[in-house]
């Protein structure tokens, strides 16, 4: 995951053999990281690439030839000519012992544990642990503790890896957690009077290798193996943290961070991870609607696009766009504005900024929308009155904009109103045409984050009814207006965007991949 950047003129390179495979890594790399490069996962609990090394769980013990004892792979740097055996009988035996010790007090409540299915203790025990326990005495019992914020601490399941303690100390730099008590009574505790209320505290749930720290939001909601996962980008601020949308029964039930060294490392703020419910809103528009004889009437897509052309032909447009729309949708809207004449504006909500001190340039940003930068780049004016300049000569296009606070009388000034969106607000009920689109979890597209990084997100669930992806609807409209040929995929739209806009120049849809890309010449220092 975090392969240290292999810069050519960097430090001395060291070659060693792990499980018979030769690996070359920079000096100072741990055996555990080197093994990852060789494609070998050394079991571990306390080690996490984003946290200081603690070396206390002893799960990553491996056999290094010529070393007198087994070495903890996470805390042992590689040496030239090392021969490492991960699965030698000695190493396996040691780890089996560690697992047995961990399981002495770990309850066998996997059926009611939310971590089941994504639990490292479960996985490693299944891989290398004993089939049964030799410990027949009653297990230690402690009650469940509420750590504040979104976090619940199930003491019994804790294996004291201290990832959470180290995260709060070294990354969040707000030491709230500690290890209280000693020996077999040790548990994770809070400092008196403190709560896990830090804006990034929710990450301890992801860091916890077992089910000791749980998200209250996700508690008992779904099993890990029932979830369909799609790579996505958190849409809740301009930071553009990479995320995974987890879907069950066509509803997003959880958003987790996806590691990207250049953006968010391994983290996602609480604001971002908990704000996914709007993706599941039930009051969606499911069919195109055309105003006929004074009433909105359901229509098929061909009729709806024809009606849009009829409304737009020869008229200027005023577009109120949402900064939640993808680059592709905004690009196509911009083409409509360019061809018809008119203006595009957007507004963005703001909130307090909350940085994560331990990671450079990572914060919950003040502007709470995904694609502010993209909208600005594509010629939409930010802020102010989004309806400024709207005259009766304009056709008003409201593209998924949240209309709360708009002046209804001003909206009525427009010659006609076209709503392209996921839901129809009451103040837009007089629209002449309503085109339902998918929200960001239901379509593919890309966002541009505040540093200009263009990142793709993927479809996680199905759009309701006849709703179509925004690029699909707008590409049809652009083609019907005779502005350009129609396009058949978001990649095609992006290609036309890359060809027409300097910021995106040289980028390809496939080239964006899972990590995104920055414009040529604006390389972000890592």
């Amino acid at each position: 995951m975090t392969a240290p950047a292999a810069a050519p003129p960097g430090p001395k390179m060291i070659t060693l053999t792990i499980e018979g495979r030769p690996v070359t890594v920079p000096d100072g790399t741990s055996i555990l990281e080197a093994a990852k490069l060789a494609g070998i996962l050394i079991p571990h609990y306390c080690y996490h690439p984003g946290l200081p090394v603690a070396g206390l769980c002893r799960m990553c013990l491996v056999e290094v030839e010529k070393a007198p004892k087994l070495a903890p792979a996470c805390a042992t740097s590689v040496m030239e000519g090392n021969v490492v055996h991960v699965h030698s009988p000695k190493a396996l035996d040691a780890r089996k012992g560690v697992l047995e010790m961990l399981l002495i007090n770990h309850p066998l409540d996997c059926p009611i544990c939310d971590q089941a299915g994504e639990c490292e203790l479960q996985d490693y025990t299944f891989q290398e642990g004993r089939a049964d326990s030799r410990y027949h005495e009653p297990k230690r019992f402690n009650p469940v503790e509420d750590f504040g914020g979104d976090v619940l601490y199930v003491t019994n399941r804790c294996i004291l890896c201290t990832r959470c303690v180290r995260f709060m100390e070294a990354v969040a730099e707000e030491p709230v957690l500690c290890v209280s008590e000693r020996g077999d009574r040790a548990v994770i505790g809070k400092f008196e009077g403190d709560d896990l209320t830090h804006a990034w505290a929710g990450n301890v749930v992801d860091l916890c290798p077992v089910g000791a720290l749980l998200s209250k939001d996700f508690l008992n909601k779904a099993r890990a193996w029932e979830l369909d996962r799609a790579a996505s980008v958190c849409p809740n601020c301009t930071q553009g943290c990479n995320s995974v949308l987890e879907v069950r029964d066509n509803a997003v039930v959880r958003m987790k961070p996806r590691s990207n060294e250049a953006v968010n490392h391994f983290y996602l703020c609480d604001q971002g991870r908990l704000d996914y419910r709007w993706l599941n809103r039930p009051d969606r528009i499911e069919q195109p609607q055309v105003r006929t004889h004074g009433a909105l009437v359901r229509a098929d897509w061909a009729a709806a696009i024809a009606a849009a052309v009829g409304l737009l032909k020869g008229n200027q447009v005023h577009v109120v766009a949402s900064p939640m729309l993808s680059n592709e949708a905004l690009h196509l809207l911009a083409r409509v504005i360019n061809a018809q004449g008119g203006a595009g504006r957007f507004a963005v909500e703001t909130g307090p900024e909350a940085p994560l001190p331990g990671v450079k340039d990572l914060a919950l940003r003040a502007e709470r929308a995904a694609n502010v930068k993209g909208a600005e780049l594509l010629g939409f004016a930010k802020g102010g009155d989004v309806l400024a300049g709207l005259t009766s000569a304009h056709v008003l296009i409201v593209a998924d904009h949240d209309v709360a606070g708009l002046d209804a009388a001003t909206i009525k000034r427009a010659k006609a109103l076209i709503v392209i969106g996921t839901a129809l607000d009451a103040s837009l009920a007089h629209a002449d045409l309503v085109l339902p689109i998918a929200n960001m979890s239901e379509e593919e597209g890309s966002f541009t984050n505040l540093r200009g990084r263009v990142q793709r997100f993927f479809q996680a669930k199905a759009a309701p009814g006849m709703a179509r992806p925004s690029w699909f609807v707008l590409a049809d409209l652009v083609a019907a207006l005779g502005i350009a040929k129609t396009t058949w995929s978001p990649g095609d739209v992006f290609a036309s965007l890359a060809a027409s806009h300097a910021h995106f120049g040289g980028m390809t849809w496939e080239g964006l991949g899972l990590k995104g890309a920055v414009p040529a010449g604006a390389e972000v220092a890592s």
């Binding site: 996997c110 059926p111 009611i112 089941a116 508690l219 008992n220 779904a222 099993r223 193996w225 029932e226």
Partner: protein
């Protein structure tokens, strides 16, 4: 095209119609006076079913009458027919339990995997075969019905013959 004709080689010498007729009469008479009855008087008498019999499900309960199920989701996962619907939730004490637990017995193929996989020994196949209902909908057994049923449960394997020989 030549056609092959099947020529029946009948044992003409043995085909005595009278003997056959009388033999038949004797046979039926023998059966009448000395019948080998195998009929089971069904509602009153029942053939014992195998301890491995897998019939419609039963949900076992704890002493206070609650379903043993903790909503772990293993049975819907393992179910090859996809007939179990489970929505887990929390009760007043914060315990995990199934908000919705439905088994569509029409879809069920009675493989017994759910019983085998259940870590709480909650869901069981029943040793039971009288399942008639008046509507399709009533074949979707909800938690209430599953816990209310009282028929004996399957053992999935015969303890005296675990290898199934």
């Amino acid at each position: 095209m030549a056609i092959t004709v099947k020529v029946l080689n009948r044992p003409i010498a043995e085909a005595s119609y009278l003997r056959a007729t009388l033999g038949g009469m004797a046979r039926t008479f023998k059966h009448m006076v000395n019948p080998h009855k195998v009929t089971v008087q069904y509602p009153e008498m029942r053939e014992p079913v195998s301890p491995r019999w897998r019939g419609t499900h039963r949900m076992l309960t704890t002493e206070d009458g609650k379903a043993k199920c903790v909503g772990c989701g293993l049975c819907p996962t393992v179910c090859p027919a996809n007939c179990i619907k489970l929505v887990p939730g929390e009760d007043e004490q914060g315990n995990r339990y199934p908000l919705v637990f439905e088994i569509d017995e029409f879809r069920c193929i009675f493989c017994g995997y759910c019983q085998e996989v259940c870590p709480e020994e909650a869901i069981h196949m029943g040793r039971h075969y009288e399942n008639a209902e008046y509507s399709r909908a009533s074949f979707v057994y909800d938690l209430e019905r599953l816990t209310a049923q009282t028929h004996p449960v399957s053992q999935l394997w015969d303890p005296s013959d675990p290898a199934g020989e």
